[in-house]
Symmetry: C2
Subunit: 117 residues, 2 copies
Amino acid sequence: MNTVAPTPPELPPPLPEPAREELKLETVLAALADPLRLQIIQKLLLESEDYDHPCGWFGFDRPKSSLTHHFKALREAGLIRQRQYGLERRSRVRDEDLEQRFPGLLALVKSWRSPGA
Amino acid sequence: MNTVAPTPPELPPPLPEPAREELKLETVLAALADPLRLQIIQKLLLESEDYDHPCGWFGFDRPKSSLTHHFKALREAGLIRQRQYGLERRSRVRDEDLEQRFPGLLALVKSWRSPGA
């Protein structure tokens, strides 16, 4: 059991997102073709536990409106699932859907070395 | 031996391109995030023999200037190598470089189903 950020027993419903069978490679690639978005997905894949993370968890030095935009783009492309917790949206990678539709893609994101690294 | 389009014994030098170690995932994904470009790479992967193909081989119903632009973008991102044969540029996928740097990426492009398919 994780005492830092336990998953609530009843999750809020996911925000609108494409179904697994609606995911499109060109759309997923377009959403990932940005260092900040690659970093978001990579961090979720490498560091997150089995629960949703709020925007602030990422520690990016960007305006909230810009981050909100990037998370929305990732959700609409089908890369992340977002849930609304009060005023806050939390995100996690749709790893099973992505691995099933685009095997190996998340492994590439995991092994990506960001320009600043 | 292929009698249709034999590889000349001395190839023209490649047009400028990033070296293997300079390839960037975000740049490669951005170049692929377009159905026409996915189609170009997929066709080269699935149908081409071991030689370079001119623009016309693809049979796209697009203005030549538009195709030239897309091929240039793919070359500058490191996805294809282009050589100048007289007035014509011919292209092939940098499959070894891409597989070494981004294993599995070309398999995803191969298995992509274009929106029109």
